[in-house]
């Protein structure tokens, strides 16, 4: 850590991990509701648990991205953060808004929340992932603008690296495309069309720029490979991301009232979306193999390699499985989609944030470069537990999805939704068990921050 102001990232990372725990607990609640339908009913109906689960995910990833930016931008720009006080202020505003929103979901019926927050003035609520009250959405815009200003001014006064520029473009895109969440016409087709400009252009567009630049930063720091090489890779990866991903939005436009030509555009371009993820895997392993030094933070390198592999599997392979229009005709809106969503989000975004936390947190907590060998060992255990259990969650949901597609849509005598759900309960049990293992991994992850504090830092010899 070269600059004092980088330390504001710590606040963001601590909040991110806290909200991550909440996300997983509500995920387990929902998983159980899939099996025991009246679990916590009517106190916490499924839709409420789901809002909490997905919104916590989005909010903690945003905390993670902002923390990552506050840490890496000053270091790349070789200057102190423009306004550390603004970063701290925005942290508390964002945390308060996020907490109030989640409590709103849990404490009052959603319709009451809509009324209390005067949703009628500018109705934006009640759409998947964009359930936040309009006032919260406005708060997100304010926080995003203040954040971009702070990051932008820091970059402007310092060294302009490719990592910083790509990150800034990703973060700016995130803020710009979020504005489409305020467009909510009565026309369902138009509503859905532009809803994807937030959701798809985030996760299969600009967020990948954020992912790419954070990964590039960690690789530069941990491998010592020439920045020129890494930056060239970064450019070509994000180029392929947007070249395939923008038109790839079309894979959401097959069955929502939009014209059939999207079946061609969407299939062809989204079939190429795995390419940048594959390149990312090749590049991450290449850079680590060509490393000029052994970084003692073995855990951070593991997360970095892990994110490259799991993003390729989750976003790339599991996305491709159901992206071609003739396949998607049967799989659209089933557990196949859920399977893909879980591994893609974990692989691409959860792991990159955890990689950044793993790399930076030891230094923000006063270490030279890394944690003790014991803490790292525990962190790597948590890596394997969480990663393997997400693989199993994905496999079990895929099994459930294949059966669901067959029984409900493909067979000669399609059965009703609820009948099919009962027939595939076994897979939901298995998914829930895998979810408990994930929680165990998460507990170990948190514990890893508290063990071996008084032991010396791991050394390169130990890390080999």
């Amino acid at each position: 850590m070269k600059y004092e102001s980088q330390k504001v990232a710590k606040l963001y990372f601590v909040a991110a991990i806290g909200l991550f725990v909440g996300q997983i607990l509500f995920g387990l609640v929902m998983g159980l509701q899939y099996i025991v339908g009246d679990f916590l009913f009517p106190e916490i109906p499924f839709n409420v648990a789901r809002m909490v689960h997905t919104n916590l995910l989005i909010v903690w990833l945003l905390f993670g991205f902002m923390g990552a930016a506050y840490y890496l931008v000053p270091e790349e720009a070789e200057t102190e953060l423009f306004a550390p006080w603004l970063a701290k202020l925005m942290f508390w505003i964002f945390l308060a808004a996020g907490a109030a929103t989640i409590l709103g979901y849990l404490l009052v019926p959603y319709a009451t929340l809509a009324e209390l927050t005067m949703n009628d003035l500018l109705p934006t609520m009640g759409r998947e992932f964009l359930e936040q009250p309009t006032i919260t959405k406005l708060g997100i815009v304010v926080v995003a603008l203040a954040f971009l200003f702070n990051i932008g001014m820091t970059i402007l006064k310092g060294r302009k690296t490719v990592v910083n520029l790509v990150l800034l473009m990703g973060l700016t895109g995130l803020a710009v495309f979020f504005l489409f969440s305020f467009y909510n016409p009565v026309n369902v087709v138009m509503d859905k069309y532009y809803w994807w400009w937030v959701v798809h252009l985030w996760v299969e567009g600009v967020w990948e720029l954020i992912l790419g630049s954070i990964l590039a930063f960690i690789l530069i720091k941990t491998t010592g490979v020439d920045r020129e090489v890494i930056e060239k890779w970064l450019y070509i990866i994000v180029a392929m991301t947007l070249i395939t991903g923008i038109i790839g939005t079309g894979h959401h436009y097959y069955w929502i009232g939009t014209p059939a030509f999207w079946q061609w555009w969407g299939s062809i371009f989204s079939a190429m979306e795995p390419i940048p993820f594959f390149m990312m895997t090749v590049y991450a392993f290449n850079m680590v193999n060509k490393r000029r030094r052994n970084h003692p933070n073995k855990a951070a390198v593991l997360w970095a390699l892990g994110t490259a592999v799991m993003a390729f599997l989750g976003a790339g392979v599991w996305g491709f499985l159901h992206t071609l229009a003739p396949v998607n005709y049967y799989t659209h809106g089933t557990q196949i989609t859920a399977a893909h969503g879980h591994m893609a989000f974990y692989g691409a975004y959860v792991m990159i944030v955890l990689a950044m936390i793993s790399y930076s947190m030891p230094m923000m907590r006063g270490r030279e470069a890394c944690n003790s060998a014991r803490a790292q060992s525990m962190e790597m255990w948590s890596f394997w537990l969480m990663t393997i259990s997400i693989i199993f969650i994905t496999l079990f949901l895929t099994g459930a999805g294949i059966l669901q597609v067959y029984l409900q849509r493909f067979s000669d005598n399609p059965m009703p939704f609820m009948v099919v759900q009962e027939k595939i309960t076994l897979f939901y049990w298995l998914r829930e068990i895998a979810g408990l293992v994930f929680l165990l991994g998460l507990v170990l992850y948190i514990a890893s921050f508290f063990v071996g504090k008084n032991e010396p830092e791991a050394t390169v010899e130990l890390a080999k």
Binding site: P42, G126, R409, F410
Partner: protein
């Protein structure tokens, strides 16, 4: 990557490629808009449907159901529920009759205590959605 492939070339591919494909996306969006009047059943939209969409949104129906395949996968697809149930009255009766405390051991839709006007509106909204041309999706009436 070969030595001949420089960082400047990678950068140019990024900027030019992104710009080109974003413009292409805008062109396809423009084309999409021109086809929508024949596809999106907009002639069925009226004040009741608008109220119905509001009821749909303000009770977070998408948190359990899918609509044209998008949403949560906990409860049945509703884009074609009007066709599956056969009438708006059947939809209204179903929503109105959900038990307050659920059904022991099973998934149940909450009792939302909607007024008759709201029930009519949400049923009319679902009827409107069922008239959208979806390229013959879903594959079966079961959704």
């Amino acid at each position: 990557m070969a030595q001949a492939f420089t960082k400047a070339m990678a950068r140019n591919i990024f900027y030019v490629g992104t710009l080109f494909f974003f413009l292409l996306f805008l062109a396809l969006t423009f084309q999409t808009h021109s086809t929508l009047p024949d596809r999106d059943n907009r002639q069925a939209i009226n004040d009741t449907v608008a109220l119905g969409k509001k009821v749909w949104e303000q009770n977070d129906c998408i948190g359990c159901h899918t609509l044209l395949g998008e949403g949560a996968y906990f409860a049945p697809e509703l884009g074609n529920v009007y066709k599956r149930f056969g009438s708006t009255d059947a939809i209204k009766a179903f929503i109105a009759s959900r038990p307050k405390d659920g059904i022991p051991g099973r998934r149940s839709m909450p009792q939302f205590n909607l007024s008759d006007e709201e029930l009519t509106a949400v049923a009319e909204f679902l009827k409107y959605v069922s008239g959208i041309k979806t390229n013959n999706w879903p594959p079966s009436p079961q959704g």
